[in-house]
């Protein structure tokens, strides 16, 4: 038999299992292996002794603490783990809620911004498209400009002659100042239709101011879009401003009866004008939008809400509209129809139509009370 290797010798020393007979026989015959076994035993004892000098000081390890300590500690660990698990779930839930909230808020904000710009842009574009043909009728930014555009050349003469005596806000409304015959027309609708026809006739030979509008439509569109974009942040800064601009949002078609029930009072309409539709909105309070026809392609919108609601959130003030004109109000009125406000029986009614401000005021005076 070959000499024993280190593994066999180590096992011989360390295990209590009796060595195999062949190993025992070899050890009896081989002095060298016996010496190696003896040497290994001494090394093992020495190693044990060396490690024995490195034991914890004091009673650590020699006195076994009660097992109950371990059980108590395990119980605390379980509670801690359970609490941690709950906290983890709560953290997840909170994260989801926060993420949802932020998303909802952002969506709302983006929705406002999107809707804020959409009508403005479409209004600009439609205005630009319409200007070459009907600039004198529809998109009148100021009363004076409207008067300049709307009046036939011969009718401008008396105005020019009296120019020194006139102040801009007090200038007679162009459409209503055209002739006494117009005032005698039986209904407001007839008068407005006649007014539109006259204006179209005047548009065939544009007066000096209207010549400005003959500039390329795209150029004017770009300029107005730039103005709209510059004004946009200021407009979107409060919910009231946004609600003011976004009156199309949330409207639902309804009947007059339902609208009156929701409003808690009569729906305002201008006498003699056919009603096209009633619409109801409950966002930020009950609001009713009545659309009446002024003639082919012309509509009057009456936006009615309770005075308290309207003061807080919705309607532009009549003073601002009347004194400064529609140009200062917001994007839509800057390029679109005239707007005016009246208060009737605890309701605020904001009227809007593609006509002059004075014509609109005259119409609003005819609202059924």
């Amino acid at each position: 038999m070959r000499h024993l290797d280190d593994g066999q010798i180590a096992e011989l020393i360390d295990t209590a299992v009796p060595a195999v007979p062949a190993v025992v026989r070899h050890l009896a015959e081989c002095t060298a292996c016996r010496e190696r076994v003896e040497e290994a035993r001494q090394i093992s004892e020495r190693a044990k002794a060396i490690l024995g000098t490195a034991v914890p000081a004091g009673s650590a390890g020699s006195v076994v603490p009660p097992f109950e300590e371990v059980l108590h500690r395990a119980g605390r660990a379980r509670v801690r783990r359970a609490r941690l698990g709950t906290m983890r779930w709560l953290a997840w839930a909170a994260t989801l809620v926060i993420a949802g909230g932020v998303g909802w808020y952002a969506r709302d904000q983006l929705g406002f911004a999107r809707d804020t710009f959409r009508p403005a842009t479409s209004s600009l574009e439609s205005a630009a498209r319409a200007e070459p043909e009907t600039s004198a009728v529809v998109a009148a930014p100021t009363q004076v400009a409207l008067a300049d555009r709307a009046m036939p050349a011969e009718e401008q003469k008396p105005q020019v002659a009296n120019e020194g005596k006139m102040s801009a806000p007090a200038a007679p409304p162009a459409a209503l100042a055209v002739g006494g015959a117009a005032r005698q027309e039986s209904t407001a609708a007839d008068r407005l239709v006649a007014e539109q026809r006259r204006d179209q006739t005047a548009g065939a030979a544009p007066p000096p101011v209207a010549q400005n509008l003959a500039a390329p439509a795209q150029e004017r569109l770009d300029a107005r879009r730039a103005v709209a974009e510059a004004e946009a942040p200021a407009m979107a800064k409060s919910a009231a401003d946004v609600a003011d601009v976004l009156d199309e949002r949330g409207w639902v078609p309804t009947t007059r009866e339902t609208a009156e029930r929701a409003l808690g009072g009569p729906v305002a309409t201008v006498e003699g004008l056919p009603v096209v539709s009633y619409r109801l909105r409950t966002v930020g309070g009950v609001q009713v939008l009545t659309v009446q026809s002024l003639g082919p392609g012309m509509e009057l919108e009456l936006h009615q809400s309770a005075v308290t609601l309207a003061r807080g959130a919705v309607a532009p003030t009549p003073t601002a509209v009347g004194a400064a004109g529609v140009a200062e109000m917001h994007v839509r009125t800057a390029v679109g129809p005239a707007t005016d406000t009246v208060e009737i029986g605890g309701f605020r009614v904001v009227g809007r139509a593609p006509i002059s401000i004075d014509s609109l005021r005259a119409l609003l005076k005819k609202i059924k009370r």
Binding site: D5, D6, G7, Q8, I9, A10, E11, D14, T15, A40, I43, S44, R46, A47, K48, I50, L51, T53, A54, V55, P56, A57, G58, A60, G61, S62, V64, P65, F67, E69, V70, L71, R73, A74, A77
Partner: protein
């Protein structure tokens, strides 16, 4: 039949503390870790509870060593800020401390595997248990252990020799 952890605890705890002490070199910490080992194994029902306990202990000690390195770095910074105080240890305690440092240094000269096998052997595990824990072949345990013991003794003797020469 479920493991009687109370009995395993009673029998194994001292060896476990020694085993852990030679890894973390702090008596309180070793005892604390030994209890923590049993906290972690209580819900388990292994085939060989004793070997399982040492496996968990070895893993805990490894984690502890990592955090000890971080702690030591922090302590070195704190010590650097503290004034040096005189050591008031009696001679015997000082001797014990030096002896322990020699053992620590000698063990540090062994390879990770040799050290692990040696400490498990010293903790009383048999060859099969050591093989199961270290994932070495059963036949390799004797050779590894023989080599580890020899290296420990030689390294320790070298430490003593250098201490005697310097002292």
């Amino acid at each position: 039949m479920p493991t009687d952890w109370a009995e395993v605890y009673r029998v194994t705890f001292p060896a476990l503390v020694r085993f852990l002490y030679r890894k973390v070199w702090e008596a309180d910490r070793a005892e604390d870790l030994a209890q923590e080992v049993f906290v972690r194994v209580l819900d388990q029902d292994p085939d060989n509870p004793r070997a399982f306990v040492f496996t968990v202990a070895a893993n805990l000690a490894r984690d502890e060593a990592r955090s000890a390195i971080r702690r030591r770095k922090h302590l070195e910074l704190v010590k650097a800020e503290q004034p040096v105080t005189a050591i008031e240890s009696p001679g015997e305690e000082l001797e014990q401390r030096e002896q322990e440092q020699r053992v620590q240094a000698a063990l540090a000269q062994l390879s990770e595997r040799d050290r692990e096998v040696l400490l498990l052997w010293d903790a009383g595990l048999d060859y099969d248990e050591i093989a199961a824990q270290t994932r070495l072949a059963r036949g390799a345990i004797g050779t590894t252990l023989s080599r580890a013991r020899k290296r420990l003794v030689e390294a320790h003797a070298a430490m003593e020799g250098s201490d005697a020469a310097s002292g």
